[in-house]
């Protein structure tokens, strides 16, 4: 046993897969300690806040400021006030007003603004331009000038008794606060999802739930498959016929269809993560049963088994001591694959809308489902779905690698 384990850990493939899996597990355990709290808490109003660090505007006004005179601050400010559409409209104005735009690049904001300041005049009325359009350009001009001039902003607070605005603070353009000094700063490395929940926190928690679902489904499937395979293979006769009958049927009927039918029959309120895991386990035992049975048949008439039988050992004892150890390696490998396909099955079910109840726990499939329902993939919110896909891929990759590694250890012909 000890020797086998040492041999397994010498396989580079197994080791890499194992390490990836352990890193994932450690993240699931450690991250909630660093960042505690309910992963389903909706911290943001509105959908899909971008990843990044969020600084409280309110608190930063009350924070001590220092003056920094950065040379390109004004230019940046003006540039960020202009949308891509504004830039195109500016070029349109130049064309309409007959200003030469030779050599101008729309993306070169600096040159664009320079040209604008030099040429724009409210009095100019290019022919064919509507009044609404002219007003738009006037507003655009104002906002460009406003971001460029050096006035201060005044923060006011309504007076408690009169309701009159009272000046509270003045903010100069050169005022900066140190992010470290601001009381409320929140870093959301993966932004928020459609409900305004911290995506990273949710993802870590979902990863844990999904692995748990995979483990439960894998255990159930392996136990059922092992039991049926052992019984059918060892006892033979009628028992074997019955086992084979059901195994043959369920090999051909797609388990995904059964999953849809069963999950659809359970009300959404009763569909917890564990229930879904059990249902997945109940529909995916066929492979294990088939292979265990065929291996047991080849073992059944080996000498040591016959000897054990002649010695009058009981059936459980023969199975436990004379047969199980020989198929253990195979069962472990099958279990690993079951875990991986269980996680995938949950994700697919959830995408169809048959996953666990949403309000209780997050799962990888549910996160994916909500991201798709809110069109995260169409509106560019990559943080809502891409990390989920990557996580699923890494979990199955690590499990598959472990499986391949084990395969090479136990089947010497496959070794590199």
């Amino acid at each position: 046993m000890k020797n086998t384990i040492r041999q397994v850990f010498h396989s580079p493939k197994f080791l890499v897969g194992f390490c990836i899996f352990v890193v994932i597990l450690l993240t699931i355990i450690i991250y909630p300690l660093i960042n505690p709290g309910n992963p389903l808490q909706m911290i943001g109003l509105g959908t899909f806040a971008k990843p990044g660090t969020y600084v409280s505007l309110y608190d930063s006004i009350n924070t001590e400021t220092s003056t920094l005179k950065l040379p390109d601050a004004d230019e940046k400010r003006v540039a960020s006030a202009l949308s891509a559409e504004d830039k195109v409209n500016m070029v349109n104005w130049f064309v309409a007003a007959g200003v030469s735009i030779e050599g101008l690049n729309v993306n070169d904001t600096e040159a664009l603004i320079e040209l604008w300041k030099a040429n724009y005049d409210t009095a100019v009325k290019p022919s064919g331009m509507t009044k609404a359009m002219r007003n738009y350009y006037a507003r655009l001009n104002e906002s460009i000038n406003a971001s460029a001039n050096s006035e201060e902003l005044t923060v006011t607070e309504p007076d408690e008794s009169t309701g009159e605005p009272v000046e509270k603070a003045k903010i100069a353009k050169t005022d900066y606060v140190n992010v470290g000094d601001v009381t409320n700063v929140k870093t959301l490395p993966l932004g928020t999802d459609n409900f305004g929940r911290d995506t990273l926190k949710e993802l870590v928690s979902a990863c844990g739930t999904s692995i748990r679902i995979g483990l439960i489904a894998g255990t159930v499937a392996t136990l059922i498959g092992l039991l049926l395979g052992l019984l059918g293979g060892y006892l033979g006769g009628v028992v074997d016929d019955i086992v084979m009958f059901f195994t043959n049927i369920f090999t051909v009927i797609p388990s995904f269809v059964l999953l849809i039918l069963i999950s659809n029959s359970i009300n959404q309120d009763q569909r917890g993560a564990t229930t879904v895991a059990l249902v997945i386990g109940l529909t995916s035992w066929v492979w294990t049963a088939r292979s265990v049975r065929s291996q047991v048949i080849s073992l059944r008439n080996r000498d040591h088994v016959n000897l054990s039988r002649l010695s009058g050992h009981s059936l459980p004892r023969i199975i436990l001591t004379d047969i199980l150890p020989y198929i253990a390696s195979y069962v472990v490998m099958a279990f690993i694959l079951q875990v991986s396909s269980g996680i995938l099955a949950e994700a697919q079910l959830s995408l169809l809308g048959l996953g666990p109840k949403t309000t209780e726990v997050p799962t990888l499939g549910l996160m994916m489902n909500w991201a798709m329902l809110y069109s995260a993939h169409l509106n560019g919110s990559w943080w809502a779905y891409f990390p989920v896909i990557l996580t699923i891929a890494f979990i199955s990759f690590s499990l598959n690698l472990m499986n391949t590694g084990l395969d090479q250890v136990f089947n010497p012909t496959l070794r590199d």
């Binding site: 493939k13 049927i249 051909v252 009927i253 896909i389 891929a393 395969d407 590199d416």
Partner: protein, 334 residues
């Protein structure tokens, strides 16, 4: 010919048995729902209705349509009898369309998308796996983990990635649907072109995912065969390497055909979910809509059709296998 007849007879018998089992499961599982399904459906449909007689009318209507007021055996035979006439009931969500109409609209899309994709994925995967096994060094070391990683990406994940990269960022393919939203299905050149454009992304997402799994399997199989005694013996005899390799891959292919027959159900399941991402007008999207609208007749009809599709595909593969593997024939004479 006697051996073949026995082999095919057995396969046909199993086809019939599994078909009956599928019918039974499709019939029984939705009826195992805790509580009264008709009451649950009535509650959903009658939301907002306060008049008791209206609710009662809805309940009675459903009870009659599903025949839930009759004994279960009678219900089963009515169900089978209706199916024999191609009647799968009326859809709730697209009332008054028949379920069989909705499914017959969707089924061609699914078949044309999934079967070519699965077969091409299977073929390319086997080619890649065989190459990896034959070349081994370097090629094998780099390609193997990469293929394994690719096969670990779920089909829907691949679908989303392709969609975002090619349809949204590069804008070289349409975002969703089976044909342009401004068209009606017809046989004009424009329509066919639009269908082909919409076909690309769903097709490649299924192909890419199935390549990985097949390649890994084929590689193991080929390595097994390359190390077999008959290969060594053939090499000792001085038979040309090319010829030996030909034999090896033919032998390694056989279990891969069985593998395809056994895994086609899983692949179809994954591909159905990938359809949803593209809103492809196939059975996957139909089931998705059925689930969202609690349309029980539609879900039950669609799952039955998918099961039958998979049963037939497996059966055809079994028959092909019988023809290409001489051992099947030999085994019949034992």
């Amino acid at each position: 010919m006697k051996g073949y007849r026995k082999y095919f007879g057995k396969k046909i018998l199993w086809l019939v048995i599994t078909f009956i089992a599928a019918l039974l499961l499709n019939f029984i599982l939705p009826r195992l729902m805790p509580g009264d399904p008709v009451a649950a459906m009535t509650a959903k449909q009658a939301k907002g209705l306060s008049e008791a007689s209206a609710v009662k009318a809805i309940y009675d209507n459903y009870a009659r349509e599903f025949g839930t007021n009759k004994p279960i055996t009678e219900q089963f035979f009515t169900y089978v009898g209706n199916l024999a006439h191609g009647d799968m009931g009326t859809s709730f969500s697209q009332y008054p369309r028949k379920v069989s109409d909705i499914i017959s609209d969707a089924i061609l899309w699914t078949i044309c998308l999934q079967f070519p994709a699965i077969i091409i994925g299977w073929f390319l995967g086997n080619l890649l796996g065989a190459l990896a096994a034959y070349i081994r060094k370097g090629f094998d070391k780099v390609l193997m983990p990469l293929t394994l990683f690719f096969s670990s990406i779920p089909a829907f994940g691949m679908a989303v990635i392709l969609l975002v990269v090619f349809a949204i960022n590069l804008k070289v393919a349409p975002i969703s649907g089976g044909y342009g939203f401004d068209m009606l299905p017809n046989f004009s050149w424009n329509f066919v072109l639009s269908v082909i454009q919409h076909y690309q992304l769903p097709f490649w997402s299924i192909v890419l995912v199935s390549i990985g799994g097949q390649a890994v399997g084929m590689r193991s199989m080929s390595i097994y065969e390359l190390n077999a005694d008959y290969v060594k013996y053939a090499r000792f005899l001085g038979i040309k390497d090319k010829k030996v390799v030909g034999y090896v891959f033919r032998n390694a292919m056989l279990p891969q055909v069985t593998g395809l027959a056994l895994s086609i159900g899983t692949m179809v399941g994954g591909a159905l979910v990938a359809e949803i991402i593209f809103s492809y007008p196939g059975l996957g999207t139909t089931i998705y809509q059925g689930i969202a609208m609690a349309d029980y007749p539609l879900i039950s009809g669609a799952t039955l059709i998918i099961t039958i599709m998979v049963l037939i595909a497996t059966f055809v593969l079994d028959i092909i296998y019988g023809f290409i593997d001489p051992r099947v024939k030999a085994a019949q004479f034992e």
